[in-house]
């Protein structure tokens, strides 16, 4: 059982490693690599969405903390 898990994970790691080398090959050309290709794939929007979600989550959290402290201040008075 354990052996199976090891061998599967080893295979997966090897596959991932091969991806890394492929990625390096494709960026090895001399041209300066900017995000134009990434944008045409639409993938930069994924990053933007993730960051906007994180930011709104944090803002929401701090806003709630703010409201809680305001409530406590009212109770203390």
């Amino acid at each position: 059982m354990h052996k199976k898990i090891y061998s599967i994970s080893f295979t997966i790691i090897c596959m991932l490693c091969s991806f890394i080398t492929i990625a390096q090959d494709s960026t090895a050309n001399k041209k300066v690599e900017m995000a134009s290709a990434m944008r045409s794939n639409g993938k930069i929007y994924v990053v933007v969405t993730v960051l906007v979600i994180i930011l709104s989550g944090l803002a929401f959290y701090v806003a709630r903390l703010d409201r809680k402290i305001s409530k406590m201040e009212k109770e203390m008075k």
């Binding site: 300066v32 995000a35 930011l55």
Partner: protein
């Protein structure tokens, strides 16, 4: 100001603008930097905000020494803490950025060293405060030390990195007048989005901490 809401909404709006425009807006095409030039909106903004909070902190420390009001001491302490937080974030993000542009996480660049020394001096501010049990002494010695720590920012951050050869842009000169590295598109996002956004967010968190501290004091005096 402490309990008004408009500037908190403004902060989030500015940050949203910086995040969205920061990733989708155009940037100068440069080798080595590539897309990491966008880090300007995040990494550099951390240092700007740290400076703002340290300035506010030292103003309140001076105020405390003049009026002996505990409120000023609380403001000075909490703004210094937020400044330290932003400074640490600036150091860590800078180190990640350096790894993929200069080749290593830490390269003993004068600006890296200067910033690290400045932060250590501010860490000592917190340690010093906590090592004193008497509240009046804590506030008084803390305020005096805070002025010293602020003064040390000038050689460590403003002067030495500028007169030495540095990997950072603007070495051997004044980065503020540098027009080669970023262009107008980036400047708009940086000054209208990133700086006010981050600065106000940090201020918001600081005011929350200050209000919490007031509550604690009140609880102590009531008990």
């Amino acid at each position: 100001m402490l309990r008004k809401n408009w500037w908190k909404i403004l902060s989030v709006a500015c940050l949203l603008y910086a995040f969205i425009a920061g990733f989708l807006g155009g940037v100068p095409v440069k080798p080595i930097l590539n897309e990491t030039i966008r880090n300007l909106y995040f990494h550099v903004a951390m240092w700007f905000c740290m400076m703002i909070y340290f300035i506010v902190s030292v103003v309140y420390s001076v105020k405390y020494l003049r009026n002996n009001n505990q409120v000023s001491d609380i403001y000075a302490l909490e703004y210094a803490k937020t400044g330290i937080l932003f400074g640490v974030l600036g150091l860590v993000t800078g180190s990640v950025w350096a790894k993929y542009t200069w080749g290593s996480f830490w390269s003993n660049d004068p600006k890296q060293l200067g910033a690290a020394i400045a932060l250590l001096i501010y860490f000592a501010y917190l340690v010093l405060r906590n090592s004193i049990t008497d509240f009046d002494k804590q506030a008084r010695i803390g305020a005096v030390y805070n002025i010293f720590a602020f003064a040390m920012l000038f050689p460590t951050i403003w002067i030495i990195p500028r007169i030495m050869e540095s990997l950072h842009p603007g070495g051997m000169g004044n980065p503020a007048f540098n027009t080669k590295d970023i262009d107008a598109r980036m400047r708009v996002i940086f000054w209208l989005g990133a700086i006010p956004g981050w600065a106000l967010l940090g201020t918001w968190i600081t005011t929350l901490r200050i209000r919490l501290k007031f509550l604690e004091e009140k609880k102590l005096s009531n008990a």
